[in-house]
Symmetry: C2
Subunit: 338 residues, 2 copies
């Protein structure tokens, strides 16, 4: 590692995050190979029953933003991580770290949003923990949600399962969450307000797996680091090239404008209600129809394909017909968007 | 609630913590009745297989202290919460919230301690998450550990299962962890250094349940709020009176001296390697022998008994023969000891 202290960029989800994980955290704690790293771990319980297990901490600033707050974000994010492993979310834990001085009305609003999000995703909040830190030693509220899921089938979608010929689908526009938080935090005066896309995608995933089964090779939610970083992870884990069609990528006009003004690429901006599905070409059209028939999937499109076995490149076919390589987010683009 | 903001005391584990939980957090999030609140939730997975699930965030200051650091503390604490439900710890998640500027050497030391603690407790770290917050918005490192356990038996030790006649056992001295952290944080110059008692107690619990089965009614680890607060919780949940013998309570001399100087009662000081077992009187002596035969149990003693069905009082028989009521910790005695 080049530096001897933690930098903000270590939390970006991009290159520095991967370096911290690959060089320090994973070698020390768990030795999980990169090709086996997914949004949730899958364990064997008793009688070989599979259990999915995941954790995420939320440190978003501000804690309340257009379309949601840190509470529903924390529930939806963990529900989605379980869903991407193919599991049915069963139970969620909530760990609160409160800063002395947090208003109880804000805490109430956040907890109420958590309960509503859990009810909507049909998952139960079953255990929790609350800690308080002195003023100036935290930032209002941090939330950890961990989740357990169970499997109603034998399928194993995973980041290392993309195959040449597969199509890449996304259920809607990219970059909404990150730009909503950024605009809210920086007080940007945008003509039309951008809202988070935060949503639980477990029902959509259940439908995809029920209807298309083993033809669904990879499911991932492109959060920190955005679509570009998540696709690069999939390309590396599967040892394939992925080619994206820039013209096919849905971006809300307000998000596109804000990104243009700020010099950001929406492909690297976080989403919290999007999934990338890499599916067998034979079912791509049908899978697209499945997604479009569900809430949060009306705008689903095919954005690219897996081209060949390789060292894991992501290529972008640009609007003018050229090809350029897309890499992971380097450094920190938008701190604390989740 | 009397105040409209979060106070440090809301994190004490005592009365204010219970008020925040009972009046805001639990009614909003989960509606778990007080009598059903335990260190871990027990869920039904597929095929009615039971799964234990728990979460804890660690915000201890300082992050490294005599006998341990925030890393092994976080592993042992979550292993113990699973063990107290009677489950065998299977897997742990790690959520790191790092403050920009944290030294990588300190992070390495903490992660190494986590791995060693997990190996010793025979539990795997299987999934994780890392977030970074700007300088001044955190305090070096906060760690959330969540855990999953499975059951190799049909037993259900729980806080609401204490019965009149039962004996109360503890596996050793009280107050070591809280005083070790306090002395380290405040730079107290004690003649003999006090070290944390942080330890994983799952093997001791497995032995207790294997040898004494359903005669083990309650298992709890007296962490924040100490032995007094935990016993009060058990008394309230079970609807019984518990009577403690002050002379039987083991307190290390250095801890007793430090508590005397600072005006603290070791009964309210946190432990991180202690368990309270409420067992049928018929097996009390044998259970004591089981504990004494294990690492971390050599100093086990019987410290009291369950006297009668009541509204949940804890009484202390003092050294001079009197009786006084013991309540939960009120307000904040020692902030950020775990």
């Amino acid at each position: 590692m080049e530096n001897d202290i933690i930098l903000l960029g270590h939390g970006s989800g991009g290159k520095l995050s991967h370096q911290l994980l690959d060089e320090l955290i994973i070698p020390t704690l768990s030795q999980v190979a990169q090709s086996e790293q997914n949004d949730a771990a899958v364990l064997e319980g008793i009688n070989s029953e599979r259990i999915a297990f995941t954790t995420d901490s939320y440190v978003v600033d501000p804690i309340i933003f257009p379309g949601g707050n840190i509470g529903d974000l924390a529930i939806n994010g963990t529900v989605n991580d379980l869903a991407m492993s193919g599991a049915r979310p069963l139970a969620i834990s909530v760990g609160l770290i409160l800063e002395e001085g947090l208003k109880l009305t804000e805490l109430q609003e956040i907890l109420t949003a958590m309960k509503a999000a859990a009810d909507k995703a049909q998952v139960k909040i079953v255990t929790g923990d609350t800690k308080v830190v002195p003023r100036g030693k935290g930032d209002k509220i941090f939330i950890n949600t961990s989740g357990i899921g169970v499997f109603d089938h034998e399928l194993t979608p995973a980041g290392n399962a993309a195959k040449p010929g597969d199509k890449v689908l996304i259920n809607g526009s990219v970059g909404d969450h990150g730009m909503a938080v950024l605009a809210s935090r920086e007080g940007l005066d945008l003509q039309s307000e951008i809202a988070t896309d935060s949503a639980a995608l477990n029902v959509m995933v259940e439908k995809l797996l029920a209807e298309h089964g083993a033809a669904v090779h990879v499911l991932r939610d492109p959060t920190r680091g955005g679509v570009a970083t998540t696709l690069k992870e999939i390309a590396l884990q599967s040892g394939v090239d992925i080619c994206l069609d820039e013209r096919a990528l849905p971006v809300n006009p307000a998000v596109a404008s804000a990104c243009a003004i700020l010099g950001l690429d929406p492909l690297f901006v976080a989403n919290e209600g999007k999934l990338l599905a890499v599916v067998d070409a034979d079912v791509a059209t049908a899978a697209l129809a499945t997604m479009r028939g569900r809430e949060f999937g009306e705008q689903a499109v095919i954005i690219g394909e897996v081209t060949e076995v390789s060292a894991g490149r992501v290529m972008m076919r640009t609007a003018i017909g050229g090809l350029r390589a897309s890499e992971m987010l380097a450094g920190e683009q938008l701190p604390r968007i989740c």
